[in-house]
């Protein structure tokens, strides 16, 4: 499929890329992390579900293969352009202001901490229409509500094609509540990231 001008323009205009994924999203996220270079000219925030006490292996692997500044979010870390931030396990990651993160240890949302909803919702509050958010494969419905909030604020919202996702529940949950501007498969997502 050829991407249309609307999606291309809104992608180019966005300052923030939010990537949310759970079971079955790792491969795509890893490929994206390896792909990004500073010509991206955006801030990347990744929320991926994982267990606590699972020692930051994801950050280590991502950092080794990334050509961008990459770190796990710490309390009150600043939000910089051309950096990749990973939400830490056992915390919720919130966008405090356009230039700062904050963390929260309150209850898990959809059994998940980090929760994609929590980050997406606070990003919608602060960044309004400046984001592109992509919700990927996963086995629960975290992220759908947050994606809808982003869409209502005018951010570009994309859901991985359920037929293409290893776990279709998360994409389906978002599609069911009309949170998606576009539904794309993996290759189309990478076509967009290349623009």
């Amino acid at each position: 499929m050829e991407l249309n001008d609307d999606i291309k323009k809104r992608w180019q205009d966005s300052k923030i890329l939010l990537l949310g994924g759970s079971a079955g999203s790792f491969k795509l996220l890893f490929r994206a992390v390896k792909y990004f270079t500073p010509s991206l000219n955006k801030t990347v925030i990744i929320i991926i579900h994982r267990k606590k006490n699972f020692l930051s292996e994801i950050e280590k692997l991502f950092a080794e293969h990334s050509r961008m500044y990459l770190r796990e979010v710490g309390d009150k870390d600043s939000i910089e352009n051309n950096a990749i931030y990973i939400a830490p396990a056992n915390y919720h990651t919130l966008v405090e202001s356009e230039t700062q993160f904050s963390l929260d240890v309150s209850d898990a949302v959809w059994y998940s901490k980090p929760s994609i909803d929590v980050t997406f919702e606070s990003a919608a509050d602060v960044f309004k229409n400046k984001c592109t958010a992509i919700l990927l494969s996963g086995a629960n419905q975290d992220g759908a509500e947050g994606l809808l909030k982003l869409r209502k604020q005018g951010s570009l919202t994309i859901v991985q094609d359920p037929a293409d996702a290893e776990m279709a529940d998360m994409p389906n949950a978002a599609i069911n509540i009309k949170a998606a501007d576009y539904i794309l498969n993996t290759e189309e997502i990478f076509q967009l990231l290349q623009i």
Binding site: G74, V105, V118, K152, Q153
Partner: protein, 279 residues
């Protein structure tokens, strides 16, 4: 862009500031230095749970004292675990306790202790290391309701079992349930572990130094405070520590201010354990 008029509008920042001022004036609790993103989430949650509009919430905050206790409990995050971040306990055991064991007394302050899980985790660690007899742990919180639970030391068995993995990773012998008396679904912390503990109300924002400590643990409290307030409380901790006393922050909370970096030596950068140095 799509519009949906059926959904309630979120709190605006003006409304949040208004609520903060109200609570400060009427109840004396100052939330102005709290991180706004998290505070907004908590306030929104209270309104959803209680099915309140903004003006209903204001009305209750002004006129209903029992509601305020509940509000306080909901607005402050009281989620805690026993042996949260097991590697922190391992680091305490290997890098801090050998040092503190040379002291005559070990006074510990667990600031923002919520329902007491951290206090009892520390008590278990001290007992296992044979330091219990000369230790005393003060647990404080701004919330009287959670302190009641902490004092009781009774938790649901399901909850205690969920700490089994943390306990195992912390490297302590046995299992977490070894430290509890279990009756049906209730797990009660052993009386001997409660002996050298005291729970009391203390407000980090408005109250002052109340004792001198060898170790202060304040984990996952700073994440709710803005940087200026964090510094104010760092100063309180600095003044509350004995020379060469230890400060433990949460695993994602580092000391950022240059002036305090000079006054605290980093003992463990990963677990954010610091030691008071300088004058």
């Amino acid at each position: 862009m799509i519009n949906d008029n059926t959904e309630a509008k979120g709190l605006t920042s003006v409304e949040i500031t208004d609520l903060i001022n109200l609570v400060k004036k009427i109840h004396g609790f100052d939330f102005s230095g709290y991180s706004k993103a998290s505070l907004k989430r908590r306030l929104t949650r209270i309104m959803q749970l209680k099915r309140l509009e903004y003006y209903d919430l204001k009305h209750l905050l002004i006129n209903d004292n029992t509601f305020f206790q509940h509000f306080l409990e909901e607005v402050t995050v009281n989620v805690t675990e026993m042996f949260r971040d097991p590697l922190f306990y391992k680091a305490l055991n290997s890098q801090v306790l050998p040092y503190l064991s040379t002291f005559q007394h070990i006074k510990i302050w667990s600031a923002g202790c919520s329902t007491g899980e951290e206090v009892y985790s520390l008590a278990i660690l001290l007992k296992e290391m044979g330091l219990q007899a000369k230790s005393f742990i003060y647990g404080t919180d701004i919330n009287t309701e959670v302190l009641k639970e902490a004092k009781r030391g009774i938790y649901s068995l399901r909850k205690i079992k969920s700490y089994a993995e943390n306990y195992q990773y912390s490297g302590l012998p046995g299992t977490v349930t070894d430290h509890f008396t279990i009756l049906y679904d209730a797990a009660t912390i052993h009386t001997e572990l409660k002996q050298n503990t005291l729970f009391s109300v203390h407000n980090l924002i408005s109250d002052n130094v109340f004792n001198e400590f060898q170790l202060i643990s304040c984990r996952n409290v700073f994440i709710y405070f803005e940087s200026n307030l964090q510094e104010k409380i760092l100063d309180l901790f600095y003044r509350s520590l004995c020379p060469l006393g230890f400060l433990c922050l949460g695993s994602k909370e580092a000391i950022r201010s240059d002036s305090f970096k000079r006054r605290f030596k980093t003992v463990n950068a990963k677990e954010n354990i610091y030691q008071k140095i300088g004058a």
